[in-house]
């Protein structure tokens, strides 16, 4: 079983549209791929908006812990505030209080409090779901806004996708990644066989593509690049091509700017099902064939 993760560095380059189209293409009757889908963008999950999932199972996600000071036991010594390196404890009208948003959950204050007045409380931080979507099983999640531990939730979503893939002999887990290069991206990329970077040929897009490629290299994940909206800035596309050539990274295709991608999204569909003949769909189809063969190690 192989794991393919879609990443970008910069947000909004088209990761989810490409992932959803891949899911559609992988579901065709003659496809050699049988894929399970995982949405690893757990704070702003969008795959569910175009794959029409029926939720079969939902589970609470317990995230990190947060310190809580018992007012009756607290003697007001202030040691908790001194040891907190996250500026999470404030004196408010002679009462020490924990700012739940700043609290890192390290529990240093718990052990230093001479009165034993501080306890840690587990936080309900969201939910994760197992669904049946238009194009196969989908694992996705909803991190409550302002919550931490998105990396942990990403890992949970992916683990469950992998387990089902192994149980039911699927040969691919297709992971829609989050933007950036930090904790949720590292969780999304960990264990992946191949990362496909959806790059945008803009100055910002090229900058962030380099950062995410450094990240996949750091973790030893093989990376491929495709350029989305390639014709909006041909100079940028040429820069990406030159960069990939120099670095020995395979460029697997270019998708033209095409409003049918947005129209498909508005209809709640993937672009390849909504407008299969559109220029974007044709390009994505070619990219999919290449990526699929590379991931499966076929011809």
């Amino acid at each position: 079983m192989k794991q393919l993760v879609i990443l970008s560095g910069k947000g909004g380059t088209g990761k989810t549209s490409v992932t959803a189209a891949f899911a559609h293409l992988a579901s065709s009757v003659d496809s050699p791929v049988k894929a399970i889908l995982a949405d690893a963008d757990v704070d702003t999950a969008n795959l569910e908006l175009v794959l029409a999932p029926q939720v079969l199972e939902r589970q609470d996600f317990w995230g990190g812990k947060i310190a809580k000071i018992d007012r009756d036991t607290c003697n007001g010594c202030g040691i908790c505030q001194q040891v907190c390196r996250f500026d999470a404890i404030h004196l408010d009208a002679f009462i020490y209080e924990v700012d739940p948003i700043a609290c890192d959950g390290c529990a240093a204050c718990v052990y230093q409090c001479p009165e034993g007045a501080i306890t840690m409380e587990l936080q309900l931080a969201g939910e994760w779901f197992r669904s049946e979507s238009l194009y196969g099983p989908l694992f996705h999640a909803a991190l409550t806004p302002a919550q931490e531990n998105s990396g942990k939730l990403v890992t949970l979503v992916k683990q469950n996708a992998r387990l089902l893939a192994m149980d039911e002999s699927y040969n691919m887990v297709l992971v829609d990644g989050p933007p950036g290069i930090g904790c949720p991206v590292i969780s999304a990329a960990s264990g992946a066989d191949v990362a496909l970077i959806v790059a945008e040929p803009t100055a910002a897009g090229v900058h962030d593509m380099r950062r995410v490629l450094q990240t996949t290299e750091h973790f030893g994940v093989e990376a491929l690049v495709c350029i989305n909206k390639a014709d909006i800035h041909p100079l940028g596309a040429a820069e990406i091509e030159a960069f990939c050539r120099e670095e020995g990274i395979q460029l697997v295709g270019q998708i033209p700017f095409d409003l049918s991608v947005t129209e498909a999204m508005v209809q709640g569909q993937t672009v390849t099902s909504f407008a299969p003949e559109s220029p974007a769909s044709q390009a994505i189809q070619e990219i999919w064939v290449k990526v699929m063969n590379l991931v499966l190690g076929g011809p």
Partner: protein, 290 residues
Amino acid sequence: MIIAVASGKGGTGKTTVAASLAATLADNEQPVFFQDCDVEAPNAHIFLKPGIDLRVDVNILIPQVDEALCTGCGRCAEVCEFHAIVVLAGKPLVFSEICHGCGSCTLECPEKAISENPKPLGILEGGHANTQIRFAHGLLNVGEPMAVPVISQLKKWQVPHQREVVVRDSPPGTSCPVVESIRGADFVILVTEPTPFGLHDLKLSVQLTAELGIPTGVIVNRDGVGDTKVDDFCTEVGLPILMRIPLERKIGAGIAKGDLLTEIYPAYEDRFYQLFEKIEGILVERGDKQ
């Protein structure tokens, strides 16, 4: 005043808006302190082109155990919430990449066998984009998972002058790095696009700013694509739409090169100044009510 520019969905135009707003204020003799808090994928420097003359490391303190003093009691591992220190066969092992640098193990070690060493997580860079724009951004080191300490150090690094308006560019999403970026702001501009993805993520962002209690307004970018549901939602929950930027090839091409909106169309200077005045108006009105 601190204005943060954020969005749930990525690529909606946060940096374009934040940088164009900063440039407009600067042209109107209003000093600006620009903080790019998207330390994973910082882009504002591409648009504002600052000269960088200050650079500092962001470190956290990682434990180092003196094996001569360590008795292998395991108390350090017991108090570590992140399993970043474990004791195997009487020997402590530190996993620095998952350590949060909280110092709990150091404080709890009964033998005082733990000291702490700085470990770099990223860097902060600062300078000036022009005489009126002070600029700072953070860069998370590649392979480092924790963005929040870099953002919080960036916010603390240089104190804004009283006359400066602080413009903060935030990362996408609604989780902890975004919270750290917008925390302490007086106003949040949420940039969205009128598509189902844009709307879905806007709703989450609005929950977030409501939880933090920060007044919020919306900018609709790529106006004209998609549908009208973002407008309907804003009307329904009473969120002001502060500006609309149309989907236009000339704008897209200019931004792709790293041009500000105000450079592509100088008329946007007036529109961004009006945006600033609207935000001031909203804050004054709120202040009057309280």
